[in-house]
């Protein structure tokens, strides 16, 4: 199939990265904690890539991305727990079901809100994010398993480095193929000018809905991998602050750049977690002073992100 032939370079590179990382883990150069962070970085990259499709490529500003990440996480947590999933091959379908659930809800919510324009869309997605947060806080009223504001505990640990790596690379390839096809081109047309897009026959609403659904699907898979990595979920992991994390990664990496999202995701996770290790305990919270300052400096230096050429 052409899919693999076309992607041969990326696949080769991925195998090399995989072997190197594996070797580092194997020889015990890094702690368990670093291994966990590496996995987390992959997850963050995947979810951010989803937002990049929605916002970076299609221009639909969303402040509720973490809600879809959370939906994927809770669906996977619930299914793997009630079915006591232990086998990775039983887990893979659940991963995709979790992604599909987030995608479906993105689709349904997208129907009314994607007709709105920029600032209204921001408010609507923010509202949806808040709604999901409140629902998660009260989720124990539907079923005790969810744990409500106490958090969802006892989720089977199923996310391995191999699984996360293969899934993320596979989804990056699919995203790449979509972006570099007529659909990606239409998304970029819409971001540039919706009226002009309609004038060449693009059904702008359905294309925006497609981008939004797909972006939420990626967030959902990311959330699912997260749930089965940390084995504990709390509603506060999926609130507006998390949505803003994803936004920052997309903007820092460069709107509409897959490589940018990958680098920015690695830097972001590496930085936040790295500072946690490096800084003495008393000043760890000062991270939230350094990080905004760094962001401001970065945006002054490269206003269009790390990977996007500045416009002239």
């Amino acid at each position: 199939m052409n899919f693999f032939w076309e992607a041969r370079k990326v696949i080769l590179l991925s195998v090399l990265i995989y072997l190197s990382v594996k070797a580092i883990f194997f020889f015990g150069y890094v702690s368990q904690y670093i291994e966990q962070i590496t996995l987390y970085a992959l997850i963050v990259i995947l979810a951010s890539l989803g937002l990049n499709v929605i916002y970076g490529y299609t221009g639909q500003f969303s402040l509720g991305h973490a809600a879809f990440y959370g939906i994927g996480a809770y669906v996977s947590a619930y299914l793997t727990k009630i079915f006591s999933i232990e086998n990775i091959f039983a887990y893979i379908p659940i991963l995709f079901i979790s992604g599909a659930a987030a995608g479906l809800i993105g689709y349904l919510i997208g129907i009314p809100i994607l007709r709105l324009r920029d600032d209204f869309l921001a408010i609507a997605t923010l509202g949806f994010g808040t709604l999901v947060r409140v629902l998660l806080d009260n989720s124990d009223k539907f079923s005790e398993v969810f744990g409500g504001s106490r958090g969802f505990v006892g989720i089977p640990r199923l996310t391995t480095f191999e699984l996360a790596f293969v899934i993320v690379i596979f989804l990056i390839l699919i995203t790449h193929n979509l972006i570099y096809s007529r659909y990606g081109l239409f998304w970029r047309c819409i971001k540039n000018d919706e009226l002009a897009s309609a004038s060449i026959g693009i059904n702008t609403f359905s294309m925006k809905l497609m981008a939004f659904t797909y972006g939420c699907f990626l967030a959902g898979i990311g959330g699912a991998l997260y749930a089965n990595l940390y084995t504990f979920l709390h509603p506060s992991n999926f609130d507006i602050l998390k949505s803003i994390d994803f936004l920052i990664i997309v903007i820092v990496g460069g709107m509409g750049s897959i490589a940018g999202t990958i680098y920015a995701g690695l830097i972001w996770v590496g930085f936040i977690e790295g500072l946690r290790i490096v800084l003495p305990a008393e000043v760890v919270d000062l991270r939230w002073v350094f990080i905004p300052l760094l962001l401001i400096a970065l945006m002054m230096w490269k206003p269009y992100g790390l990977m996007t050429k500045s416009r002239n």
Binding site: M1, L178, R182, F186, L195, A196, G201
Partner: protein
């Protein structure tokens, strides 16, 4: 055969009648000019035909098919393409992508082909790229394929917008003030290009112009509008001599 028939078109904005009972016919293969002073309602007529504004009253027939109040994105599939008075290019996309997007909209492949890179994907992409290059060459933009559209000089942006519209292989092309903001030399070039377009792509054209010069040269028929109404219709020769037209244009830099 009539490519386009407009019957009693009306449109008001907050009590102001922008278009007030306009009717005209575009015969297949002919070029019709619409002229009139600023604010006469010319652009509004285009926006009504192409569904960007909702028609208050009246009918629009395209090859006999009623297309009144059709959503804008459906019209290119029927064979109607347009340009905008205030240029609407995909300004951050390259010249090549501006044209390619329209071709791939017209003749594309599905999502599965995109994701799995099937034979259909490569075939359609290849065909589209070839066609895009031909169009870009025809509009004398070769060598600038990779420029962002907004880096082109104004006159070339106008040409690119027409190229993008023609990439849809329309049966009728609606162009709104293609000469606006151009110098006389560029206008002459454009005129020549439009003549060639007409020959090569064998289509009907409706062209709005504020200045009369451009339209008179290439139109088979001219519709004159003022205050939302059609004040006359005729061959360029007839229109030039008409008293009402001269009156409408009094105080304007005319002919």
């Amino acid at each position: 055969m009539n490519a386009l028939e407009v019957e009693g078109l009306e449109k008001s904005f907050g009590g102001v009648k922008a278009v007030d009972g306009i009717s005209f016919v575009v015969e297949e293969g002919k070029t019709v000019g619409i002229i009139g002073p600023n604010g006469a309602g010319k652009t509004t007529v285009f926006n009504l035909i192409t569904g960007f504004y909702r028609v208050d009253r009246g009918r629009i027939l395209f090859y006999g098919k009623n297309i009144t109040r059709t959503q804008p994105y459906k019209l290119p599939h029927l064979g109607i393409a347009r340009t905008f008075q205030n240029l609407r290019l995909f300004s951050n996309l390259s010249v090549f992508e501006n044209v390619l997007s329209a071709i791939l909209k017209k003749d594309g492949y599905n999502v599965v082909s995109s994701v799995f890179r099937t034979a259909d994907y490569f075939m359609k992409e290849g065909k589209a790229e070839k066609k895009a290059r031909e169009l870009i060459e025809f509009f004398q933009l070769s060598g600038k394929e990779n420029y962002p559209a907004n880096n082109l000089p104004y006159g070339e942006q106008r040409r690119l917008e027409i190229a993008r519209a023609l990439a849809l292989q329309p049966k009728i092309l609606l162009v709104d003030e293609p000469g606006a903001g151009m110098n006389p030399r560029e206008v002459q070039d454009l005129l020549q290009t439009l003549r060639e377009v007409k020959e090569r792509f064998s289509l009907s054209i409706v062209i709005i112009e504020h200045q009369m010069g451009l339209v008179m040269n290439i139109s088979d028929k001219v519709v004159v509008m003022d205050f939302g109404e059609k004040i006359m219709e005729g061959t360029p020769g007839e229109v030039k001599k008409d008293k009402r037209v001269i009156e409408a244009y009094l105080g304007e830099e005319f002919i």
